[in-house]
C-alpha cells in the first residue's frame, strides 16, 4: 500500500470577503505515485481549489479537513505548505517588477532549504543547479536575468512554472492549466520535465481542459469537477469521453 499524500474530506470554502461558497463538499484522496486529472467547466472552482490548498488569504475554509503527508495542511502558513512539499503551477503566474528571475529562484530554493535545516546554497552551487534545470526546460540564461514574469509570453511563464517545480522537488504538484498557451514543442518540454520529476514517492494533480497534456502524461484517475465538487471519477477514458460529448451529460446526470 502506498502512502496517502493528500486527503481532502468534505471541504467547503469560499471567498473570504463575500462568504460566497465556491467549493461545496469536496472529497479527494491522492496517494504517492499517482497522477490525478481534474476537468471541469469554466468557473467550476478548480483554481479556487488550488488556492485554498496553497493558502491564499482571499479564500476562507468553512468546513472539512485537508491532510498533507499526515499534517493538517490548513493549519500551515502558505510558505510552510510550500516547504512541506506542496507546489502550485499557477494558471496566471504573477509578474514581479524589480526582482530578477534567477534571484527569485535562489530565494525560493534557499528559503525551503533553511526551513528544513539544510545549509543554503551559495551563488556558485545555485548557479550550477539552475543551469542544469534551465537547460531541461529550454529556458535561456537571458530570460533568467529578466524580471520574473515581466513581459514573459504565456508559454514562457508556464515553462518557468514547471522549471520551479523541478527546482523545488515537491511531493505534490498541482498544475493549474500548465498546458494553456504552450506550443507543441513547449508542451513536450513541459511534459518531459514533469515525467522526469514524477516517481513513486510523489504525486501530481493536473487541472486541464485538454486531452493533449493527458496524452503525454497518462493520468491514473480523471475527475469531473463541477459546481464545487467532484461529480464523477474514472480513468483516462473519462477524459476521452468528455472530449467527445462535453460536460452536458455529466452535469445532467448530477441533477
Amino acid at each position: 500500500m502506498s502512502k496517502t499524500i493528500l486527503q481532502i474530506k468534505d471541504l467547503h470554502a469560499g471567498v473570504a470577503e463575500s462568504q460566497k461558497e465556491i467549493i461545496k463538499g469536496l472529497n479527494l484522496e491522492i496517494k504517492a505515485g499517482e497522477i490525478h486529472a481534474v476537468m471541469g467547466p469554466n468557473g467550476a472552482g478548480k483554481s479556487t481549489l488550488s488556492y485554498v490548498l496553497t493558502g491564499k488569504p482571499d479564500y476562507a475554509v468553512t468546513g472539512g479537513t485537508v491532510s498533507f503527508n499526515g499534517q493538517d495542511l490548513l493549519a500551515l502558513a502558505p510558505h510552510e505548505r510550500a516547504a512541506a512539499g506542496l507546489f502550485l503551477s499557477m494558471q496566471y503566474p504573477v509578474a514581479i517588477p524589480g526582482v530578477a528571475t534567477n534571484n527569485f529562484l535562489k530565494h525560493a530554493v534557499n528559503a525551503q532549504r533553511k526551513y528544513h535545516g539544510l545549509p543554503e546554497l551559495d551563488a556558485a552551487e545555485f548557479l550550477k543547479l539552475l543551469r542544469q534545470t534551465a537547460k531541461e526546460f529550454d529556458v535561456s540564461a537571458e530570460m533568467l536575468k529578466r524580471e520574473i514574469n515581466v513581459g514573459f509570453s504565456g508559454g514562457e511563464k508556464k515553462r518557468l512554472e514547471i522549471l520551479q517545480m523541478s527546482l523545488l522537488q515537491p511531493s505534490l504538484a498541482i498544475l493549474d492549466e500548465a498546458d494553456s498557451g504552450l506550443d507543441i514543442d513547449a508542451l513536450k518540454i513541459v511534459a518531459n520535465g514533469v515525467k522526469k520529476w514524477h516517481n513513486q514517492d510523489n504525486a501530481l494533480l493536473i487541472i486541464t481542459h485538454h486531452l493533449d497534456l493527458l496524452n503525454l502524461i497518462e493520468p491514473d484517475f480523471v475527475h469531473i469537477y463541477a459546481d464545487g465538487h467532484i461529480v464523477q471519477s474514472g480513468d483516462k477514458n473519462l477524459a476521452v469521453e468528455l472530449e467527445q460529448s462535453g460536460y452536458k451529460n455529466f452535469l445532467d446526470a448530477e441533477k
Binding site: H79, A82, I96, F104, H107, L168
Partner: protein, 413 residues
C-alpha cells in the same frame, strides 16, 4: 538656552568673516525657526523643545577609539572624517589638482571668500542662516580646471555620544571648468547618540564640470538632521545627486539648485525609509532653470515601514527666457503601515512657453498577489516583503553608475 549661543569661534579677528556670521545671526533672529505656518516647512517643522537644548560644543576634538573603527570601506576613497561635529585635524593626502583644507584655514588664506555664502539668500533658509552665524567647522574643496579625480572623496560624519551637541558644518565645494569628481557623504552614528546636525554644502560647478554627489544618511534615531545643498551649475555642467535616508528622528534634505547657464543639468534621485514611529523624513527640492536648454530630473521613492511621515516637496521653476528646458519629477511611496503619512507637494512654476515638464506622485501598498506568489515558493511573508521593498527602491539605486558605490548603498540601506 536658545539656538543662538555665545561661543568663542575661530577667526573672530577677520572682519569679512565675522561680518558674515553677523549677517547670519541677524537673519536668523529675524526669521526664527520655521513653524507650521512657514510654507516651505509646514510638513516637517519642529519645535525648539524637540531639540532639547542642544549645546554648541567648543571643546577640542580628541581622537578616541570611535574615530577609526567605522572607517572600513569597500571602495578606494580619499577619506575625511568629522567626529561629533568636529573635523579631524589630520593631514590629508595630496592629490594632483585637488585642494582640500579645513574651512578655518581657508578663511585665513582667503581663497574661499569668493564662494562662501554666495549661493543662497539667508532669510529663505533659516537653518542655513543659523549655520552662517556659527561658521567655523567645515571644508573647502576645490578641484582645479580639467582635473578628474581618480577616486571619490568620502566624508564621514560620525557621532558617538549623547551630550546633545548642536553642530553647524559648512562645506564649500568648487569644481572649476571641466573638472570631474565624486563626493560621498556618510552620516553615521552610535545607535544611542543624541545630537542636532545642521549642514550646509555650497557647491559650484563650472563649465563642462561634473559632480556626482552621493549621500547616505544613517543618523541615530534620536538625532535631528537638517541639510542644505545649495548648488550652482554653469554651462554644460552637471550635478548628479543620490541621497539615501533612513536615520534621524527628523531629517530634512533640501536641494536648492540653480541651473545658471545653457546646457546645465541636474539629477536628484533619492530613496528613504521610515523605520520608526513618528519619524519624519523630508526631501525638499527647488530646481531653478535660469537659462535655455537646461535639464533636470528627479526620482524619489520612499518606504514607510512604520507610522512615520514622509515629505516630498519638489519645485521646478523655469524662468521667462529659459526656453527648451526639460524638468521632470516623480515621487512614489510605499505605505506598509496604516498610520504612516506621505505629504507630497509638487510645484511647477513655468514662465517660458517652449518647455517640457512633468511631475507625478503615487503612493500605494504592497501587491498582495506578488506576496502570495512568493509564499507559494516557500518564502515567508517577512522575507517576501523585504524582497519587494528592495525591488521597489532598486529602480533608483540603479541610477548610480559606479558598481562598488551601488553595492555599498545596497548593503548599508
Amino acid at each position: 538656552m536658545s539656538l543662538l549661543q555665545t561661543v568663542k569661534l575661530w577667526g573672530e579677528n577677520i572682519p569679512w568673516f565675522e561680518g558674515l556670521r553677523e549677517k547670519g545671526r541677524i537673519a536668523f533672529e529675524k526669521v526664527g525657526l520655521p513653524t507650521a505656518k512657514t510654507e516651505a516647512w509646514k510638513y516637517s517643522f519642529f519645535k525648539e523643545d524637540d531639540l532639547r537644548n542642544p549645546q554648541i560644543d567648543m571643546t577640542e576634538h580628541h581622537c578616541c577609539e570611535h574615530c577609526e573603527q567605522h572607517s572600513a570601506l569597500p571602495f578606494e576613497a580619499l577619506k575625511i572624517e568629522y567626529c561629533n561635529g568636529r573635523l579631524h585635524s589630520e593631514e590629508l593626502p595630496p592629490l594632483a589638482g585637488l585642494m582640500i583644507k579645513p574651512l578655518v584655514e581657508a578663511i585665513y588664506d582667503k581663497d574661499v571668500q569668493p564662494y562662501l555664502n554666495k549661493s543662497f539668500d539667508l532669510e529663505q533658509f533659516p537653518f542655513a542662516a543659523l549655520n552662517t552665524a556659527y561658521l567655523e567647522q567645515g571644508l573647502f574643496i576645490l578641484l582645479e580646471r580639467g582635473t578628474t579625480l581618480s577616486k571619490p572623496i568620502y566624508i564621514c560624519y560620525h557621532h558617538h555620544d549623547n551630550a546633545n551637541c548642536l553642530c553647524h558644518i559648512r562645506n564649500v565645494i568648487v569644481l572649476e571648468n571641466s573638472a570631474d569628481a565624486t563626493i560621498i557623504e556618510h552620516f553615521d552614528a552610535e545607535p544611542n547618540a543624541i545630537y542636532t546636525q545642521n549642514i550646509v554644502n555650497e557647491i559650484f560647478i563650472g563649465n563642462n564640470a561634473s559632480l556626482r554627489h552621493l549621500t547616505l544618511q544613517n543618523e541615530a534615531l534620536a538625532a535631528h538632521h537638517v541639510l542644505l545643498n545649495s548648488v550652482e551649475v554653469k554651462n554644460n555642467g552637471c550635478y548628479r545627486s543620490f541621497c539615501a535616508q533612513k536615520g534621524a528622528r527628523c531629517s530634512r534634505q533640501e536641494n536648492f539648485i540653480k541651473l545658471l547657464q545653457e546646457g546645465a543639468e541636474a539629477e536628484v534621485n533619492g530613496i528613504y525609509r521610515l523605520v520608526a514611529d513618528k519619524q519624519v523624513c523630508d526631501t525638499t527640492t527647488n530646481i531653478r532653470h535660469l537659462a535655455p536648454h537646461t535639464l533636470s530630473n528627479q526620482l524619489v521613492k520612499g518606504v514607510a515601514e512604520k507610522a512615520g511621515r514622509g515629505v516630498f516637496q519638489g519645485q521646478i521653476h523655469i524662468a521667462p527666457n529659459a526656453q527648451q528646458c526639460e524638468g521632470y519629477q516623480l515621487h512614489r511611496a510605499l505605505l506598509l503601515d496604516d498610520n504612516a503619512e506621505i505629504d507630497c507637494k509638487p510645484e511647477l512654476e513655468i514662465f517660458a512657453d517652449d518647455v517640457k515638464c512633468s511631475h507625478g506622485a503615487a503612493s500605494g501598498d504592497l501587491d498582495k498577489e506578488q506576496l502570495f506568489y512568493m509564499q507559494t515558493r516557500g518564502i515567508d511573508e517577512q522575507q517576501a516583503i523585504a524582497i519587494l521593498i528592495t525591488a521597489y527602491i532598486d529602480e533608483v539605486i540603479q541610477k548610480i553608475t559606479d558598481d562598488s558605490l551601488k553595492n555599498w548603498i545596497k548593503q548599508n540601506f
